[in-house]
């Protein structure tokens, strides 16, 4: 998934006289080998109910044992988000639902492992406060069969897959510091980049590795009071996030302006219809009856361990952006800065810096990475800094036109072949300058009147000559080189 980070204000984002207030709860699946409290594989896409055991099925008599690697990844997230990492305890969150094997979820409530951090947005440098980032177990997955679009309404029966039950999650809760749907998107994009860079998550929203709940309220511009908020559940893409916040803010403003009040609710986002609908009101909210989980002991990571984990965290996105910025003589702005943000958030910056070390042009390498590579990110493994750098050098050196270079890169991503081979097999082998000079000579000889006018300064005729050369070379000549030859012959 590629989404440019440049703002394209949607009409719902800006409502004159009103301010949107958003706080986000992001659930992040941790990239552990096994589940949070048992040895079952943490795997996506398996046959239903094949990665389960007495513990994650909550069978009578079973007991949870904390996965140390999950704790380590949670601490990495906390450190990456500038949190205070401290002793914490687990609580039980009690409510009945078929996809919860024990009918309670083991989570952290009073004392979370990570508290009071912040995330700095890359463009505005605004700091969004992180209230907490706590550990909890995921639930199973319910599929409602025979109802309306997989929802429970009208369903004939439901199927539950417990493979996901007990997968470790970290829930990252922001303060209500975000002021637009775009800012929310920027926050999630940067958070995802941090989670990927810290090695805690694969950041795949489409596979549910990242799931976002948004708390949205509106208030009159200039007001210091928060309005009544609604929580929108399970936003599974950046697009849904932006649309849902926009819709919800508009809905709340319309309610208030028509003399009604916003009711505190949990709401569901309907992607197809582009609307939020009420799930349950505050009065219907569950009483989770939290109490300390007696089957687990307090989590008390030693200061040494925390320091050691901190020393092993990779470069964070802000440092990675700085590294890319430092490759330019003047500080990049506008679309180049956007490309830097995109490259870093998708983990493409190592590719760019590697290519530059191999002699590639920084601006061109960045552009190809942030556009062409980003749009086929799943095949990233098929290229490396060397082959990618070579391609950029070929393009910069005029051996490939821009159009040709994009095509070659596309084929490289698909097949894993090197740029020379791909260019050759596509017939893109750039022509030697002497051959192009020969074509230019032929064209001048064939159109002496046009040449006279061009030589006299009628620059717009360059296109005519380039076109003629292209015809002769069957499209293999680089237009820039042809133009250069024409100019040199004129003088």
């Amino acid at each position: 998934m590629v989404e440019s980070s440049s703002s394209s204000p949607s009409q719902s984002e800006f409502i004159p006289g009103w301010e949107i207030v958003v706080g986000l709860e992001v659930h992040c699946e941790l990239k552990t080998n096994t589940k949070l409290f048992c040895g079952c594989a943490n795997a996506f896409g398996r046959e239903p109910n094949t990665s389960v055991c007495p513990v994650c099925l909550g069978l009578p008599g079973s007991l949870p044992v904390i996965n140390e690697h999950a704790v380590e990844l949670a601490i990495r997230i906390g450190l990456a988000l500038n949190c205070k990492v401290d002793e914490s305890i687990f609580h039980r969150k009690n409510y009945f639902y078929p996809d919860m094997p024990k009918d309670y979820q083991i989570s952290q409530y009073e004392k979370a492992i990570n508290e009071n951090g912040y995330l700095e947005l890359p463009l505005s440098k605004k700091r969004v406060r992180i209230e907490r980032a706590h550990i909890e177990e995921d639930t199973g997955k319910t599929t409602h069969v025979g109802g309306d679009g997989g929802r429970i309404h009208g369903a004939i029966h439901s199927l539950v897959d417990y493979n996901r039950a007990g997968i470790p999650l970290v829930e990252i809760v922001s303060a209500p510091d975000l002021r637009s749907a775009e800012e929310a998107r920027e926050y999630v994009t940067e958070l995802r980049a941090i989670l990927v860079a810290s090695g805690a998550s694969d950041g795949k929203m489409e596979e549910g590795s990242l799931r976002v709940d948004a708390n949205v309220s509106v208030r009159r511009s200039g007001s210091a009071e928060f309005g009544t908020r609604c929580e929108i559940k399970n936003l599974n893409s950046l697009r849904s996030l932006v649309r849902a916040i926009g819709y919800e803010a508009q809905r709340q403003v319309e309610l208030i302006e028509s003399g009604n009040a916003v009711v505190q609710q949990t709401r569901h986002w309907n992607e197809d219809q582009g609307v939020t609908t009420a799930m349950r009101s505050k009065e219907e909210a569950y009483d989770y009856r939290y109490f300390p989980e007696p089957d687990l002991v307090p989590l008390a990571p030693s200061a040494e361990w925390i320091t050691e984990i901190g020393s092993r965290i990779g470069m964070m996105p802000s440092d990675r952006r700085e590294r890319l910025i430092s490759m330019f003589e003047t500080a990049p702005s506008g679309s180049t800065f956007d490309q830097i943000v995109t490259a870093v958030s998708l983990g493409l910056d190592d590719l760019v810096t590697g290519a530059v070390r191999n002699g590639a042009d920084a601006r061109l390498a960045l552009a190809r990475a942030a556009n062409e590579v980003a749009s086929d990110i799943d095949h990233l493994a098929n290229i490396n800094p060397k082959t990618f750098g070579e391609l950029i050098r070929m393009e910069a050196g005029g051996k490939l036109s821009a159009t040709q270079a994009k095509k070659v890169l596309g084929t490289m991503l698909e097949s894993g072949e090197g740029p020379q081979n791909v260019a050759e097999s596509l017939g893109f082998e750039a022509l030697d300058t002497s051959i192009i000079e020969g074509f230019v000579g032929q064209v001048i000889a064939a159109s002496p009147k046009e040449w006279e006018r061009f030589a006299a300064g009628e620059d717009q005729l360059a296109g005519f000559f380039v076109g003629q050369v292209m015809k002769l070379s069957k499209g293999k000549a680089d237009g820039k080189i042809v133009t250069a030859i024409l100019r040199s012959k004129r003088s």
Binding site: P60, S62, L63, V65, F96, P294
Partner: protein, 487 residues
């Protein structure tokens, strides 16, 4: 086989089996036959697993034939409380809600006793989900006291206690959340031990109140109870609350006597007990004094609040632990029009009255707005009790008290009065709240010559001294004159 092993000590049976004087199969066959002829009246077992027992006995005999070490409990029959999960064998908690459920795994203690060569005869009766003090709350009907079939055996591990007392099995395992091992041991005239919290793995014990539950042994002698505890004690990576430290050697010092030990009699737990129970306790203390221990009375004031704190903490945890019995995945399901109705109907039909009472009590105690006043306050009382015991243990090695306020009562006597039933555990509950070890052993007889239990309490991991004192008491205890129902 020329000699009978019925009524024999576990250590003696293991010795005979190990020295090939008798085979494990012979021992088990004899006990199965004995149980078959007597348990219809006693009803100590929910399920006697003959075939599994015989094949397990054969495994022990084969080991011996191959010259391998068959373990310290070779060929010794054992009865398992039916809240310990056993692979492929129905495990019911004496509840209808677990109807038809066969666990896919064994509890850690079940594995441990098997590895030690013990042979499980079957699953014993209990109050549903271990909630009760008489085993009358079993959905399979009550167990009877082997000294008087009209009386209760105590509970919740009444089946295990009765089976051992009636000599249907030399050993049994039970679980003790507020006295569920010690109280039935006292009422049935045998030894029952609640170990330090975390000494025995809870993995595979179907939870009632996780912070209080602990598995422990029943036996007819102090030594046999120590032998069995030695087998099941020790760290288990599957239980996060299991203690890391290796289990102490419980048998090594058991005969060392009590010379020089400081023993305190808890004043608060003598008040209000039946006169003969109080007298027996004082006689027991005197006997220890005569053997060289220093006996004094000591006040542990916070134990008075134990019962109230317990009946908030235990139901609160239970309300959460028992949520999973919802008709969705296993056990009883009563179909409703929708999910919620299925939950309600399944749980209404599947749980008995006492379980429902405690789920409601616990749900209320944890409710938003009431948490601090109930659950929070009970936890503070718990800390108070720990501190109160600590002050006493600054001056004493072990403490003594009655195990129960009275001897075994008649069936039905307290069924309609939950509060008076709850009071049966007033002497045992404080130990669970503190996480300390305590054990009951028979000492004298009360009304109708029914056995009386004396409780020996020790600080955390004080099992070695606890067994020393219990063994000394056992040596001085009068023999129970009353006959078992089949004698």
């Amino acid at each position: 086989m020329t000699l009978s092993t019925i009524g024999m000590a576990a250590s003696e049976i293991a010795g005979l089996v190990r020295s090939k004087q008798v085979s494990a199969v012979e021992v088990v066959q004899e006990h199965l036959a004995f149980a078959a002829s007597h348990d219809s009246e006693l009803h100590s077992f929910i399920d006697i697993t003959d075939e599994a027992a015989l094949s397990a006995a054969r495994v022990v005999d084969e080991k011996i034939a191959r010259g391998e070490d068959p373990g310290s409990l070779a060929g010794v029959p054992i009865a398992l409380k039916d809240n310990l999960v056993t692979r492929g064998q129905a495990t019911t908690c004496a509840s209808q809600i677990l109807k038809g459920w066969k666990p896919p795994y064994d509890a850690t203690v079940v594995e441990k006793v098997r590895e030690a060569g013990a042979v499980a005869l079957g699953k014993t009766n209990l109050d549903e989900f271990a909630m009760g003090s008489s085993t009358e709350n079993s959905s399979f009907g009550p167990t009877r006291n082997p000294y008087d079939l009209q009386r209760v055996p105590g509970g919740s591990s009444g089946g295990s206690a009765a089976a051992v007392a009636a000599k249907l099995s030399p050993l049994a395992l039970g679980s003790d959340t507020g006295g569920s091992i010690r109280q039935p041991a006292a009422l049935c005239g045998i030894v029952g031990v609640k170990p330090t919290y975390g000494l025995v793995s809870r993995y595979g014990l179907i939870a009632f109140a996780s912070s209080l539950d602990q598995i422990g042994p029943f036996a007819r002698s102090v030594k046999d109870s120590a032998l069995l505890l030695q087998v099941i004690a020790g760290h288990d990576p599957k239980d996060s609350t299991s203690l890391e430290s290796p289990a102490p050697d419980l048998l090594a010092g058991i005969e060392r006597g009590v010379e020089g030990l400081r023993i305190g009699v808890i004043e608060e737990l003598i008040d209000g007990v039946a006169p003969k129970v109080g007298e027996a306790l004082l006689e027991a203390a005197n006997s220890l004094g005569a053997q060289g221990a220093k006996i004094e009375h000591v006040s542990v004031p916070a134990v008075k609040y134990g019962l109230s704190a317990y009946y908030l903490i235990a139901p609160a945890e239970a309300s959460s632990n028992l949520a999973r019995y919802d008709g969705v995945r296993y056990g009883l399901r009563v179909e409703g029009q929708d999910m919620n109705e299925t939950y309600v109907k399944s749980r209404t039909k599947g749980f008995g009255a006492e379980v429902k009472r405690r789920i409601m009590l616990g749900t209320f105690a944890l409710s938003s707005g009431y948490y601090d006043a109930y659950y929070g306050k009970a936890q503070r009382v718990r800390t108070m009790i720990i501190n109160s015991f600590q002050s006493a243990y600054n001056h004493f090695d072990v403490l003594l008290s009655p195990t129960t306020p009275t001897t075994a009562f008649e069936l039905g006597a307290k069924v309609s009065d939950p509060l008076s039933m709850y009071l049966s555990d007033i002497c045992t509950i404080p130990t669970n709240l503190a996480g300390h070890p305590a054990m009951s052993l028979p000492y004298g007889q009360g009304e109708n010559d029914m056995p009386i239990g004396v409780q020996v309490l020790a600080p955390a991991l004080g099992e070695v001294n606890m067994f020393r004192v219990a063994r000394a008491l056992e040596l001085g205890a009068p023999v129970i004159s009353r006959k078992l129902f089949w004698e």
